[in-house]
């Protein structure tokens, strides 16, 4: 283990290896969020509105100066079948992926997954034509 990694291992402010036990107030919806109930030692986003804040460059280092709100733009399925949220910083546009927590609002999660299908780009007429061209 080189010196830099060893320093990080014992640094209490390096949250990749140390749990973060501070409650916080959500920047977007104003709810108070406590660390309990996430099913993980590293709560990343508000379980009510799923918004996060751009604090990290690398997971747990708190090195970013941006501190912008990160809005959830989608979900994806990891190899092991669990969902991860995709966050996008509203200030600098950085994308980040994070596991969903145990107490995340399931309605919001599902509404994010449904977004592409509730969109006028997918018009029923076009889909009907698509089905027809596939039959021919």
């Amino acid at each position: 283990m080189n010196r830099e990694n060893k320093r990080k291992k014992y640094d209490k402010n390096f949250y990749r290896t140390h749990p973060c036990i501070d409650p916080f107030t959500c920047k977007n919806c104003g709810q108070t969020v406590v660390p309990e109930g996430a099913g993980s030692d590293h709560r990343n986003h508000c379980p009510y509105c799923l918004t996060s804040v751009h604090l990290d460059e690398e997971p747990g280092d708190r090195a970013s100066d941006c501190h912008g709100k990160m809005e959830p733009i989608g979900v994806w399925v990891r190899k092991n079948g669990e969902w991860a949220l995709i966050h996008r910083c509203t200030i600098c546009g950085k994308l980040d992926s994070n596991r969903v927590a145990a107490d995340d609002n399931p309605m919001r999660l599902l509404s994010l997954a449904m977004k592409p299908f509730a969109n006028p780009i997918l018009n029923p007429e076009g889909l009907k034509d698509l089905c027809k061209t596939m039959e021919d």
Binding site: P47, D96, N105, M107, L109, A113, I121, L130
Partner: protein
Amino acid sequence: MEETLRCRACGTEYVGDHCPSCLSALHTDEDPEYECGGVMEPVSVWVKPDGKWDLILRCKSCGEMETRPVTRGDNPMKLMSVASKPLANPPFPIERLEEIAKMTGATGSTGDFGGAYEPRE
């Protein structure tokens, strides 16, 4: 002048920033220091506030994520498949969604959206 590339995932020749047939791309950047050259696979779709779609790509070798606008020539079936992946693998049983939502104190319902039962006029 844009050069023609051969997709490293499916072998299709294409012009542009991602393969229109399998929607994969190469991880390149303007800044040569960040260039990793890995294959980026499509993981999700982002519906932007103006209603346009962006592909969310994730690099297979370094895990970085990027968005690229969906273009007209993109394979519609592949797009639908990428967009519906989360719905096909829900992290909780969908039939008990309202029950779970009530337990966590969330509001909202998965009700009727009209027109799923009989053909519309």
